[in-house]
Symmetry: C2
Subunit: 171 residues, 2 copies
């Protein structure tokens, strides 16, 4: 069966737009001057989990919630849109704890062995990690030490527990 | 005034966790086998806008909703966590329409002229765009043509209007 989840976007979107109200005039720069970096994981509802609402914060999401992967976005967020605080969230049960880059590169290349273009996967650092709290500390350190992140940025690091919905501050 | 938005995370999170219910046993692979790529923009509430709920879809967000920037995450999403559909959303009023990479690189370097490490910004492609609908088409083409994206993936492209809350399918 081919995928077609996109066909289910329109009905809820019509309801959302019908009750859009004052959100129509929200400003581009985030009201809380905050950028959140977290994982793409399907179980993470950033708004509900942190009491964030439309207009409050940039939400950057990628596999693992990697700060390194998010750097391009962080620079744009800070230099062009005025954010001055970053909160990094990783989470329990993360897929990034379950594989290594060499394993994943082999999966990709083995799936299409006759295609030289598939070798491009060798240039990708998949940024997996094996220790959850350490990965948060390392990402906060990466941001604090980066010459491309503004001095004085308030940077915190957290773990979200997918089995309880609770957050815990690590840094 | 220094930033401290993070101090406001704990109270709403306690409420969220207190009513967590059956979300505690959601599976790691997204139920809809869907990955959504969209912008970090503060006005975008992906769940509400598309009728998505916890467990349904990977949500990848970066400055602009760039598919190229999202490739690492897409590979992990497809090869390790079973997604077979990608929906790319860009939006009206996007910050990516307002600058060029040379301008932003100059801002970063001028802010810290004595620091050689700030020159590292020259290695970053900020992936800005000047035509919104074209940027969606180009990102969908990038994914369709990539040897690292699974053949047969259903890929759609959309524009979200931040002034009305409405989505429009482009591809």
């Amino acid at each position: 069966m081919s995928q077609s989840a996109y066909k289910e976007f329109l009905a809820p979107n019509a309801d959302y737009a019908a009750n859009f109200g004052p959100k129509s005039s929200l400003a581009l720069p985030p009201a809380k001057k905050l950028a959140i970096i977290t994982c793409m994981d399907a179980r993470i509802n950033v708004y509900a989990e942190l009491g964030i609402k439309e207009g409050d914060a940039h939400i950057i999401r990628n596999a693992g919630g990697s700060a390194k992967d998010a750097l391009r976005s962080v620079i744009i967020s800070q230099r062009l849109l005025g954010t001055r605080e970053i909160a990094v969230f990783h989470h329990t049960g993360c897929g990034m704890l379950t594989f290594t880059s060499p394993q994943l590169k082999k999966i990709v290349k083995d799936s299409d062995p006759s295609n030289p273009a598939a070798q491009a996967v060798d240039h990708i650092d998949f940024l997996e990690f094996s220790d959850l709290e350490l990965s948060v500390k390392e990402d906060v350190s990466f941001l604090k030490e980066s010459a491309l992140v503004l001095p004085g940025t308030v940077i915190t690091g957290w773990v979200y527990d997918v089995e309880t919905g609770k957050i815990k501050q690590i840094v």
